[in-house]
Chain length 360, copies 2
C-alpha cells in the first residue's frame, strides 16, 4: 500500500529528491564520499551552496539588493535574532498576532524593545488573519512582523498588508515558503525553517534586503549578527551542509516543475479539493474563516472527538499518516506542502467521502 | 581504487553507518518515509533521540548529574552561549589559548565579561599545549575554558589541567569528542560540533552538569538559554532530526566496536604509525612539540612548499584526499578521526615511504 505522509513538519519531500539523495548518499560525484563527509570548503559543497542560492534567486526573482543566508536554529532562533539586530530598547516594532508562532515571536521581541500588536485574532481562537484594515500601526515602527502561514490554526495571508516605505516588512514564511509567487521587493526580510517546503530540519533560509541589514546593531556576538552571514556567505563556520544539499535538490526540483507559478496552481487545486468537500458536507467543518484558509495546512473538525480519533486511526490503516491536529487545538490537519502530490490529496478526499458515508 | 578521505571536517563517517543510512533513507522502519520526513514528535524520531542520548551516557559513563543537549550552530554558537549564560560583566573567566579556535572563543567571551588568559602558546605558533604548571589562574574564576584538540595546529591535551572544585572546567572537544576515555566528572561542561567524530555538520553535542547550568543568567532569549534545552529535552523547537539520527547510528557503531577504550587503542595505533615515520625520517618533520601531538590531526611538513603541493597532488591520485593543511598554516594534515580505518593510515604510511624514496 502506498503511504502518504500528511505530517506538518518535518514533512514529506519530493520522491525524486529522496531517490536522488539516496542514490548518491555514499558516493557524491565519484568521490566515494557522501556530500556530508566532504569539506564545506571543497569544490563539491561550494558548488552545492552556489547552486542552491542561484536557484532561490531564479525561483523567487530576487535581485542583488537582497542577500540569501542559511542560518541554524530554525525560525525560533530568528524570533530572537530579528529584535536583537534591529530593535533598540527605546524603539517600537509592530507585530501582527495571527497564532501560536506569532505569539512566540512577540515574546522574544519584548525582551529587547517595545512591541505594538497591530492586530490580533487571539480572541476568536486565531480563526482568521487579523483584518488588515483594522490594524493600528505605529508611526516610525522599526519594522512590521507577520507570520504568512499559521501551521496550527490553518490560516494564511491571501494578500499581504500594504507596504510602507519606511517600515520594512518581515515575514516568517516557515510553512508556506516558495509555495506561491510573492513580490520579494515588498519585504525587508523573509525567513523560515526549511522543514516544511524546503528540506530537512536544521537550517533556516533568510532572505534580507542588504540596506535593511546594514541598520542592524553591530555590537553583537558573531554568530548572532546577520552581517556575519552576509559577509561570509553563510560560511563563517561550518554550515549544515547536508541540509543545504537537500535544499539545493528541492529547488532543482521546483525549477523542473516549472517554477513557483506552476507549483502555486497545483497547490490551489490540492487545497480547493479539500475545502470544497468540507464546505458541501454537514459532517466535516472548517473552523477557519473562508478568506483566511491555508493552502498548506487544511484543518477541519468532525462532529465528535471520538469520530476524529477513529478518522485518524482508519486513515492511517489506509495509508494516510500524520493527520492528527496539533496537540494544542485537536481536530484533523492535512498538511499538503509542495511535495504532496495531487494523488495524495485525491486519496484523502476519497477516504473522507467513504468515512462520512460509514459514520455520518 | 579505494579512496580514503582525510578531510578535517566535515569528515568521513564509518562505512557501516553510511550504508545503513542509505539503505533506510527513503523507508525508515517501514513507514515509506525517510526519518527526515517524519515528525520530530512522532514515535520514530523520539526513539532515535532517546537512544542517541542513552548511547552517549553508556559510552562516556555519564551520570544523571549531567544533561545531554543537542544545539544548532556548532561550536561557534557555543563560543557566545557560554559567556552569555555564565559570565557576568564584572566576572572573570579563565581561558587557555591553544590555537585559532581558542582565540575565537576568547574573542566572543570578551563581549560579556573579563577574560584572563591563563596560558598561551601563541608566541610559538601554537606548537604545543600551553604548559599547565605555568598557568596563572584567577581566584574565583567563573569557569575555565580549554580546547581539548586543536585541529589546525595539530595539538591535543594528553592530560587535562587539575580540577578546581569551585571553577568548573569547560572543554571544546569538537575535534576529539569520544575518541578516548575521559572522566566526565572532571568537567562542568563539554561540547563540540558533530562534524568530526560524531556525524554531519549542523548539530553540537553539549554535555553539562545540571547544577552548573542552574547558575546561568535566566534573562536571555529562549533559544540561547541552556535551561531551554535541558527542560525541553532539546525539543523546544524542531531539532536537526537527520543529524541526530546519524549521531545515533555512529554511537551504535561505537558500542559495536567495543566502546571508547577500544576506539582509543585503535586511535593510538593509527597516530603512532604516522608519528614514528615522521620522527625517523629526515624528509618529513613535525612542527608540534612531542608531548602535545594530536592523535586526531597529524600535521607535518616536507622540505619545501613545492614538495608539499606535489605530495597533496600525488596522494589524491593514489586515493588519499583532503591532506592539504589548513590554509592559515600550510603543510600537510592527515585527519584520522574514529571513522578512519587502520587500513587508511597504512595506505598513507606506504605512500609517504614511497614518496620520500622518489623525492627525498
Amino acid at each position: 500500500m502506498k503511504i502518504y505522509n500528511f505530517s506538518a513538519g518535518p514533512a514529506m519531500l519530493p520522491e525524486e529528491v529522496m531517490l536522488k539523495a539516496q542514490d548518491e548518499f555514499c558516493n557524491y560525484g565519484g568521490t566515494q564520499s557522501g556530500i556530508m563527509e566532504l569539506s564545506h570548503r571543497g569544490p563539491q559543497f561550494m558548488e552545492v551552496l552556489a547552486t542552491a542560492k542561484q536557484n532561490i534567486r531564479d525561483l523567487m526573482n530576487i535581485s542583488d539588493d537582497y542577500a540569501i543566508c542559511f542560518i541554524q536554529g530554525g525560525a525560533s532562533m530568528q524570533f530572537c535574532m530579528i529584535p536583537m539586530n534591529f530593535l533598540p530598547a527605546d524603539g517600537v516594532a509592530d507585530y501582527a498576532d495571527s497564532g501560536t508562532w506569532s505569539a512566540k515571536a512577540i515574546k522574544e521581541a519584548q525582551r529587547f524593545g517595545k512591541v505594538n500588536i497591530v492586530g490580533s485574532s487571539k480572541e476568536t481562537n486565531y480563526d482568521r488573519i487579523p483584518v488588515v484594515r483594522h490594524w493600528k500601526p505605529t508611526e516610525n515602527a522599526i519594522y512590521l512582523h507577520i507570520t504568512s502561514n499559521n501551521t496550527i490554526a490553518g490560516t494564511q495571508y491571501h494578500t499581504f498588508p500594504p507596504v510602507h516605505k519606511d517600515v520594512p516588512m518581515i515575514a516568517d514564511m516557515s510553512s508556506d515558503f516558495m509555495s506561491r509567487v510573492i513580490n520579494i521587493n515588498d519585504f525587508g526580510m523573509v525567513y523560515g525553517g526549511a522543514q516544511k517546503n524546503l528540506g530537512p530540519s536544521g537550517v533556516a533560509l533568510v532572505i534580507i534586503r542588504k540596506d535593511f541589514a546594514e541598520r542592524a546593531n553591530k555590537d553583537l556576538p558573531t554568530m548572532l549578527r546577520y552581517s556575519t552571514y552576509i559577509e561570509k556567505d553563510s560560511m563563517f563556520n561550518t554550515p549544515p551542509t547536508f541540509a543545504i544539499y537537500i535544499l539545493k535538490l528541492i529547488t532543482d526540483w521546483m525549477k523542473d516543475q516549472g517554477g513557483l507559478g506552476v507549483i502555486e496552481e497545483i497547490n490551489n487545486t490540492k487545497s480547493e479539493g479539500l475545502y470544497e468537500l468540507i464546505d458541501r458536507s454537514d459532517f466535516y467543518s472548517s473552523p477557519v474563516y473562508p478568506g483566511s484558509r491555508s493552502k498548506m495546512n487544511v484543518v477541519f473538525r468532525l462532529p465528535t472527538e471520538e469520530l476524529e480519533a477513529k478518522f485518524v486511526k482508519e486513515a492511517a490503516q489506509n495509508g494516510m499518516t500524520g493527520l492528527k491536529g496539533h496537540r494544542s487545538v485537536g481536530g484533523i490537519r492535512a498538511s499538503i506542502y509542495n511535495a504532496m502530490p495531487l494523488a495524495g490529496v485525491e486519496t484523502l478526499v476519497d477516504f473522507m467521502i467513504q468515512f462520512e458515508k460509514e459514520n455520518g
